[in-house]
Every structure is written in C-alpha cells, then in structure tokens.
Amino acid sequence: MGFITLIVRNATNRPTRTALTAIGLAVAIAAVIILVGISWNFERSFEAIYRSKRIDLIAVHAGSTNQLSSSLDARLVDRVRQIDGVSDASPTLVDTVAFEDQNLASVLVNGWVPESLLFRGIRILDGRSLRPGDDHNVLLGRVLALNLDRKVGDRLDVAGEPFTVVGTFESESLFENGALILPLTTLQKMMGREGQATGLVITAKSPAPESLEPLRKRIEAALPGVAVTPARDYVLADTQIRLAKAMAWATASIAMVLGAVGMLNTMLMSIFERTREIGLLRAVGWRRRRVLALILGESLAIALAGSVLGGMLAAAGMRALTLSPTSQGFIDPRIPPEVLGLGLIMGIGLSMLGGLYPAARAAALDPTEALRHE
C-alpha cells in the first residue's frame, strides 16, 4: 500500500462530505475563473480594438472617466492631423442602443467616418463597408448579426430609425463583433450631438514609447481641455474595466475564502473523528511530518477533485453567460489559460491553507491522549 492509496482511501471514507467539500471548492474556483476570465477578456478585447487599428493615442475630454462620458468637438481632428508626428486621426462617437425585440439591452453603436483609420482590422464578411455618402446604412458585427438575425439587405430599426444592413464584419475585438457601425454624421444627428465626438483616435508616425510621450504632450498643448493617453494606458485606466476587475477579484476572493473555510471545517471534523486513528499512527512510529503530510494530502486530494470540477463548471458557466440576453455578444466564452491556471493554483493553495491548521493539530496530538479519545 502506497502513501497515496492511504490518502485517497481516507479522503473517500466519507464520500458525501468529501463530495460536498469538493463541490463547494469547485464553485469557488469556477467563480474565480469566470469572473477574472470575463474581466481579463474584457480588457484584452478592449486592447484588441486599438491594436488592430494601430491606434497609438486617444484624446478625450479632460476629466472624462471613459469614452462614453466624453464629448469633444469632432472638428478638432483637423488640428490634430496638422501636429508634427501624427500619421492619421479620426473622430469616433460611441453610444449604446437597445433591441428589445431580441432582448439585447445594451448594444454598442459606433459612429465612424467611412474609410477612416477606424475601419482597420475590420474584415467584411458579407456585403460592403460604409462609403462616403452613406446615411441610413449600417454595418453589423458578426455576433450582433447572428443575435439580430439580420443579413445584408435587411432592414434594421436603430433607436427608432430605419437602416439598411449593407455589410457584416468581423473584428479581433468581441466588443466590435457585438456592435454596429453607422456613419458618424448619422449617429450625431440621431443622438442630438451634431459636430460632437466622444473621442479622437490617433496613429503616430512612430509608435515607439519615447516618441509617443512628446507627441502626447504636443497634442495636449495644442488642444486645451483635451486629455491624450497612450492606448494601452487608456484601456488600463478605463473606469469600467477597473471596476470590472475590482469586482471580479473582490467576489472571487470571497468565494475562495469560503472554499478554504469549507476545507478547514471538513478537515477539522475529519481529524476530530479520527483522533484515535491518528494516535495509533503516532504510537506505531509515524513521525509528525508524516501525519502532517497525510492530512495535507487528503486536503490536496479534495482540492484536486474540486479544481477539476471547478474548471468544468467554469467552462459551462462561460458558455451559459454567452446565452444570457444581458451579456450576449459581450462575453468571450474562451477561458484564458493564465486565468484557468490562476484559478486552479488559488483553489489548491487556499485549500492547502485550509488543511494546514487541522494537519498541524493532528500532527501535534499526543499519542496517549489521542488513543484515549472517545
């Protein structure tokens, strides 16, 4: 009989209790993977927008915490283009609309200038892209087209106005795949924001960090009241992303602590019930460290079972979220390997922490007293 056999035998001696502990741990691990995974994908999807379009800098109204709350004069783009070091720039107007018939509560709508740099990274799947002169024509992201069940040539009402779907597209970013693109001027009129943009996107002649910083300063100096941020920093500083990450970590941490407490409780009960057994092990010469290893091994066995189950629950949970009307199109069901690894390591680590005190207590038992235990 090997040591691992003994560990597994002990861990499965109380199958119901072990299963419940593993399930509790699995839920905690799944919560970590899902929540952190969503915020991780959220951030990466946001980054992908700027990376695919080779956008180096973003200009918004100074003091705005995110692009949706920013408002700039779209004509500022002409001044930006004149600044030395700027390769290209374009205004963008972002808002959200609802498609209640399809249970889509909050769909991103982008107002872009046709043929501007914002169309980089957009691959037309069917139909065509927007052209200058388009008015009530719309491009639908791949996921949104599926969710709305619309194809090229179909009519689509956006915020009460009729549009014709002229193309569907795919982007590296899940946000864009779940969004629609209208001509900038059309969206400005619809939203009552004529001449306005939520921000300007800028491509530098040299994207090297050492040349971006002076360029950033030059643009800010030329446009008072405008804050210019490198795209990567902009993503990281975005309030919604930070909030999503903070919420994910806070909730995940609570779930993990509960999982660890569950393990602590299970192992404490286990060693209490097995006090005489542990006394016997000490009496036959088992060293304290072997008793410690036995109890920690049992914690690890339960943690591993919980981790496997947690990984499967997380995958199922992510899939389920993509079907929810409120998150449809926003959730990338793929679990980043880093997040999966993090969830498993956290789950196993905290379980071991939960098993440490019972294990130390078991190892410290006096054999005579333990053998007398009723």
Partner: protein, 242 residues
C-alpha cells in the same frame, strides 16, 4: 528475524550504570523511580516504580483497575513521559533518544481495543507501521501477507476490521505490531475483549511469537491465566509495585 543492532538506532549514546541487581545488568528495559502525576484530576498514577526487564523475558504486570499498570506500560513504551524518574532502553534514557524511531523500530504495541483503521483491509492495516520501516513499497504487501499467515490469519487478507471477529482483529493487530520486527512487544490487556477460547489462542500465539522471534514480551493483564503463563509477574497496587 530481528535485525536490531546491539544498540538502539537513532540513539545518543550515553552509558548508564545499572543500579539494580543482576537482571538490571542485562536489562533491555528499565524503569528507575518512575513517577507519573496527572494534573487533570490530581492523580498520582505511579509513585516511584523501579523495575528491570531482561532481554527475551515475558513479564506480566497485574493489579486492580487504576493501579497504574497501563500508565507504566505507556512509560516503558515511550508513549508518555514520566513526571519523575526515567526509562532506559538498553541502558539509554528514552528522554535522549528519537522516540518516533523507538516506536517504529523497537516496540510493537498491542491494545485491548485493537485500534485497527476501519477503512483498511487486514493486509493494509499491517502495512501501516511499515511506512516508517526499512521496507521498499513493493515489499510491504507480501510482508504483511506473511505476517498475517504467521499469526494464523492467512485467509482474511482482504477483509476490513468490521468483517472480522474480535479474535481475528486482535491477530491483525498483533501482525501489525510485528511489522517492523520489533525487539519489544508491549500489550495492554490483549485478551481483555476476548472470549476464553480466543484468549487462550491469543495467549498461545503471543508466547509462541516470543519464542520464535526472541521477543521481550510485557503484558498488562487482569487475567490470572495470562499472568500464569509469564516468566515473571509484577503486581501493582496504588501506583507501586507490591
């Protein structure tokens, strides 16, 4: 069968002169002025007990309940520490040696209530002490099978304690006590839970094992039959040898 070297393994060597008579000069186990006080209940379980047990001797410790005989056995086996006095194994104080190694390699314990692990089969129970023994992993199970055969239980290898009679359980416990080829077999009321037939069988088995293996056997017992089978009887009363 016994692989013990001349001195205790893992021992800080310190020569202690034997103070007692001839038996003490060749004693494998010696207690000197043993006192055990339990704070809980303010009990004086042992009041200056001195004894010497010779190598290969069969000693029965007898006396009424509460006289301190189990406490004495626990002190001799290193399961508990005396409040006063000392226990010597082959002349070396237990306080100075590695007690885990002493338990694992020198002492085999047999308890009245067997203390078998309920989730393990007979063969697995016998292997439990072998984790601290010199046996390779693959050699443990065949060794356990052989030990079970030696104690007269060759057909219950895959049975768990709950599937065995009390006599069979005690045989498994005895096989477990032999797992690492100990020098000493310390048994606390080994026949206390058995009917008279099983008691006779277990007593015969212990005596037989002692002869075959050259074991030193110390038994705490209430049973006159067991005491009569011993080479020497140590009677106790009120924490003292009478």
């Amino acid at each position: 069968m016994n692989e013990n070297p001349a001195g205790p393994r893992g021992l800080e060597s310190e020569t202690v002169a034997a103070p007692e008579a001839n038996r003490a000069a060749t004693a494998i186990l010696e207690g000197r002025g043993l006192v055990k006080h339990y704070d809980d209940g303010d009990v004086e379980a042992l009041r200056g007990v001195s004894l010497a047990i010779g190598e290969g001797e069969f000693v029965a410790i007898t006396g009424p309940s509460g006289c301190g005989k189990t406490t004495l056995l626990q002190l001799l086996g290193g399961l508990d520490r005396p409040t006063g006095g000392e226990v010597l194994f082959r002349g070396h104080p237990l306080a100075a040696i590695d007690l885990d190694a002493y338990h694992a390699r020198q002492v085999g314990f047999v308890f009245q209530s067997f203390h078998l692990l309920p989730t393990l089969t007979s063969v697995e129970n016998v292997q439990v002490p072998m984790f601290e023994g010199p046996w390779p992993r693959r050699g443990r199970a065949p060794r356990a099978v052989s030990l079970l055969a030696e104690v007269g239980l060759p057909h219950r290898n895959a049975h768990r304690p709950g599937q065995l009679s009390v006599g069979e359980r005690q045989r498994v416990a005895i096989a477990r006590a032999l797992a690492n080829d100990p020098t000493l077999l310390l048994a606390d009321e080994p026949t206390g839970n058995l009917d008279s037939k099983s008691q006779d069988e277990i007593l015969r088995l212990l005596a037989d094992l002692r002869h075959r293996r050259g074991l030193t056997l110390v038994i705490v017992t209430h049973s006159p039959e067991v005491a009569a089978a011993a080479d020497r009887r140590i009677a106790m009363k009120d924490g003292q040898i009478t």
